[in-house]
Amino acid sequence: MGRMLWLILFSVNAVAVPVTVDIKSNKNLPVFQTVVYLEPTSGTPPVPAVDKVSVLDQVDRQFVPHILPIQKGSSVVFPNSDSIQHHVYSFSPAKQFELKLYRDSKVEPLLFETDGEVELGCNVHDWMLAYIWVVDTPYFAKTSQDGVVVIDVPVGHYTLKVWHPRIQDDLESLSQNVNINQPSVIEIKLQKELLQDLSFYQQRTDKLTDYND
């Protein structure tokens, strides 16, 4: 009997339930590329990091993607799709490293074992910048252009968190405990102004920019 009950409970927990999160700025505009993640609190067993390798490429003198969420304990590989050298580095406490990425060279993936923000730069192209946001949960994704993301999670209790480099609101104040037992829609409205959008850096970059700096 006890074994049967455990199986039933496990089956209920294993059912994926969609959680829709809609993030709006204080001006009611969608916030694109916000990392949304749900950290299990109780009732949901922690899931170990899968053996996953994410990709952060260098394309046309830019990092692609600009924001990369990954699960703690997973790895990131840094290919170089450009025909010129890059020198990727991070001074962030969550992961400090430097990688020289030569034309046609291949480097081993890097393991990210601490959650938090990893800000990347390139010592050759000073305008290049990207973020890896390391989360301690397998349930994460980025919002699309409409500021919405859908994440499938097992039924259970979670702490919903969001992150974006332009968000000035206190991240703790934006996090909330949620009990997910059915498809849910959660709206988050930012209180503070977003920091300036700097994506224009990517729109006027070309191969002739190399020699300028």
């Binding site: 000073d126 006027r204 020699y211």
Partner: protein, 414 residues
């Protein structure tokens, strides 16, 4: 004294070559970025004799035919994480030095988490005045015949010394504005100013190499032992007085859309210094302001203005010079079309009116360049200029010249 004996550039070249060889045994091929570029031209040239052939024409070529426009190898060799050896070696079939370095420098750019960072370089390199010469080997990706300003920079100016910079990339500060302040100290550029004073501004893409000599016409007042007594050539990279020249510069960028660069340059040469070849020190000072704005990712406007003066001897020659250009460049798929207007003026105010040094002119250059593949490019350029040089009377030539040339260029890079 032979010119090879006195060139400090030859010394620095040997020192840096030793560094290359010393490090090359410890670095792997993966730590290098080595490549090259070659351009073959077919030209319908102007027939006014080129300054390179001791004429008064301000273009590089004066004969129809086929030849090598550019041939260069570049190397960026990582010596440590922060230190890179950057070199550009060129071959030119024309001119006096056919094989040599146009740039050879150690670049130090340490990684730093600071918002204001430091970098420096030492060696033989260009001060970064130009927003036109942004391709490998300081070439222009826009036109083959470069602006009058940067034709002069390429043939007569180089920093043999040290440059230190503070810079602040805007994106890391969450700002659209990036800035840099820079300063250089150098030796070995005392004859700078000779060419624009006697020949005037020229328009070409022939960069002087590390120990080069540039010819110009044998103006009687210049070569006369009883008058100025100077050879009708200059070897621009000599140190004659052991005085340090300097430059100060400031860069300001808005995103990657707009760029502004200001430089003040003073070679501090002693105008009374002279060597056994009778090459003089020319005290040359100028302001340079460069700007670029990209209207869209396809269309950009580039401009540069330079204003300065140079003096040699006891004001044997003293000229003010002013030059500017405006260039519009547009890409359609793999095609780039560039149109540039140049204006250049040299005005004399010296003690020898019988050695006339005033010159001026304008140029119009239209180029189409098509990237067939990543490696192959083909292009056509039409150039015309109208220039006046008062000292042509010394050679019984008309002072005015209208020059035209058409270039067809095939480029291969690897």
């Amino acid at each position: 004294m032979a010119r090879h004996d006195v060139s400090q550039c030859a010394i620095i070249t040997h020192v840096l070559l030793s560094v290359i060889i010393g490090w090359s045994v410890t670095i792997t091929a993966a730590a290098n970025e080595i490549g090259g570029m070659a351009q073959i031209y077919l030209i319908d040239s102007d027939d006014l004799q080129s300054y390179q052939n001791q004429g008064t024409g301000i273009l590089r070529h004066d004969e129809n035919g086929v030849g090598i426009q550019q041939a260069l190898l570049y190397a960026n060799i990582d010596l440590t994480s922060d230190l890179t050896l950057d070199a550009v070696a060129n071959y030119y079939p024309d001119g006096e030095q056919h094989l040599g370095f146009s740039q050879l420098a150690l670049n130090y750019k340490p990684l730093s988490p600071d918002k204001i960072k430091f970098k420096g370089r030492v060696g033989f390199f260009y001060p970064r005045l130009s927003l036109e010469n942004v391709d490998k080997g300081w070439l222009s990706p826009y036109t083959y015949t470069q602006s009058a300003i940067n034709s002069w920079v390429g043939e007569e100016m180089r920093t043999l010394g040290l440059e230190l910079s503070l810079y602040s990339p805007g994106r890391a500060r969450r700002s659209p504005w990036s800035w840099e302040v820079t300063g250089g100290l150098f030796q070995g550029n005392d004859p700078l100013g000779t060419l624009i004073s006697w020949r005037g501004f020229a328009m070409h893409d022939r960069q002087s190499l590390n120990n080069d000599r540039v010819q110009f016409a044998p103006y009687s007042t210049v070569i006369d032992p009883d008058f100025i007594w100077h050879p009708n050539y200059v070897e621009p990279f000599h140190e004659l007085d052991q005085r340090w020249g300097f430059y100060l510069g400031a860069h300001l960028n808005y995103f990657n859309q707009s760029a502004l660069r200001y430089y003040y340059y003073d070679n501090q040469a002693d105008p009374l210094s002279v060597n056994r070849q009778r090459l003089y020190g020319w005290r040359t000072k100028f302001h340079s302001l460069s700007a670029q704005h990209k209207f869209t990712s396809q269309t950009r406007l580039i401009s540069q203005w330079m204003s300065g003066s140079t003096v040699m001897g006891l004001s044997y020659v003293f000229v003010d010079f002013d030059a500017w250009y405006l260039m519009l460049s547009h890409t359609i798929a793999e095609h780039r079309i560039s149109l540039r207007y140049d204006r250049f003026i040299v005005s004399e105010d010296d003690i020898f009116p019988t050695d006339p040094n005033s010159s001026d002119g304008y140029g119009l250059t239209l180029a189409w360049r098509y990237d067939i593949t990543d490696k192959w490019q083909i292009g056509v350029e039409q150039h015309m200029n109208k220039n006046t040089a008062q000292n042509r009377v010394l050679l019984n030539l008309p002072i005015d010249a209208n020059q035209h040339q058409t270039l067809l260029v095939t480029q291969f890079r690897w």
